[in-house]
Symmetry: C2
Subunit: 282 residues, 2 copies
């Protein structure tokens, strides 16, 4: 099985590692505009061979794991190159635009839109992890538009690397993911910014910051090259979540100004309910 991974970062690299581990006789080919990443991926054993776009006609599977703006440009080009039996999967964090851009492509049935929800705040091939996807959710969009045999091929991979599948239309995906992922990243980045701006003396931050702070600002380490395009593509949904979040923060501030700490207690107590929701998440 010839698997081509375009974009050898955390997400693509981790998929490559798991696929190699779960399948016999698989060769992973890597494509990346970053030559250093290509070489690192080869050294670490994420890929077996460097490849070019012109090699894609030999691919059984192509995984597109690049920033979501690049994916919009690459996906149609990849579909132009592949053979009739190749499965092409995009694994980006937004799904509406990529589904839209290839909806009339003659090879639409070779494409599957997926979002494996897993990751860390790190990036690049060295951030790739074995078993990153085990027990995690993969959202698949517009599954009915993919050829049945290629659906099966994809499900076989996701099942072997331990993912559970949920089907969703791209619009709903982008709306929900704005709340449970994109907003978290903004809240974290802005928290980091607020503290850095205020605390010019870093030694003071460092000494007083505990594990709670570390946990809340962890996502502020994430790659801007990955996240700026996500916010851009999911602009409408993200702005909506951001407005609701700001409104809740303002209301909290108002309650403080009114010395209404009984209501603040209530707010926190009802939000404690997040415990039950989070119980299933690592």
């Amino acid at each position: 099985m010839n698997v081509f991974v375009i974009g050898l970062g955390l997400i693509g690299g981790s998929l490559a590692l798991d696929i190699q581990h779960e399948f016999n006789e698989v060769i992973i080919y890597g494509i990346d505009t970053n030559e250093e990443h290509l070489n690192q991926a080869l050294e670490i054993g994420i890929i077996q061979q460097k490849a070019a776009f012109s090699d894609l006609n030999n691919a059984d599977i192509v995984i597109i794991s690049v920033p979501v703006d690049t994916s919009l440009k690459l996906t149609p080009k990849v579909l132009d190159e592949i053979s009739d039996n190749t499965l092409v999967m995009d694994v980006g964090s937004t799904k509406e635009d990529v589904c839209e851009i290839i909806k009339n492509h003659p090879k639409r049935r070779n494409f599957l839109a997926t979002h494996p929800i897993a990751g860390t705040e790190f990036s690049g091939p060295k951030a790739a992890l074995k078993n990153l996807y085990r027990g995690k959710t993969n959202i698949i969009c517009e599954v009915e538009k993919t050829a049945f045999k290629l659906q099966e091929k994809a499900l076989d991979i996701f099942s072997k690397i331990g993912m559970r599948i949920r089907y969703m239309d791209p619009k709903s995906h982008d709306k929900h993911i704005a709340y449970v992922s994109h907003l978290s990243h903004i809240s974290s980045f802005m928290l980091g910014k607020t503290v850095i701006e205020k605390e010019k003396n870093e030694r003071d931050i460092f000494d007083m910051a505990g594990s709670g702070f570390a946990s809340t600002v962890r996502l502020a380490k994430s790659s801007p090259a990955m996240w700026a395009p996500i916010f851009e593509q999911n602009k409408t949904n993200v702005i909506e979540t951001l407005e609701e979040y700001i409104q809740n923060l303002q209301q909290f501030k108002e309650l403080m100004l009114q010395d209404n700490f009984a209501e603040i207690y209530q707010e926190m107590e009802s939000t404690n309910h997040i415990k039950q929701i989070l119980n299933g998440i690592n």
Copy 2:
């Protein structure tokens, strides 16, 4: 050594466990208004004996680990009860009010204001952990107002349980901690609230939420009984941090509305600097 712990939650309970482990011939006495917590603490081995306020004259050390509003009421009463050689330490997350309230107490020199910066989002005696404090920072305020021999006693304990000490005035403590701890809790609670409000269908949240979301809302599991009084006591500082945070979020939203994703990229890139700051935190 007779150590009395008043308030047998995560913080007091964990201190009791470590002190027992590091010192020979220590007896831990527990005081708590919650009878169930007292019994649990006895069963788990956090304390050896239940005690009452009237026993405090036998104490070598008293640790006050209760919500910060309760601490304001309890600390002067504890100082009224103790002998001349007893060390009394409060371990709450705010320091200005407690230092103020006992400043003219005849036993002021028996008191040490401390803030061991450690914890989890859980509470109660069952949440107590061994080695919770190892490698963590302890902020000590107004050290010069504590009797020298009692300072030494306290430092010996903190050194044996693995904490590093920083000295700070109570005003500075409360100001800095608002940024690196109190604000994180509000951002987390309001993030949890925003998502719960929007996503009535919890199954959708649960399925799509990854480790990033879990990390950012972890603190929204925290105890309202502990946190509402902290926000109340540190009101001025917390409102200031909240205003700056809201302003940064609003500016981010404005940049999105203006489609200025180049600037958004820059903002995120400069906040990535938090990596270096966080490197020393677990």
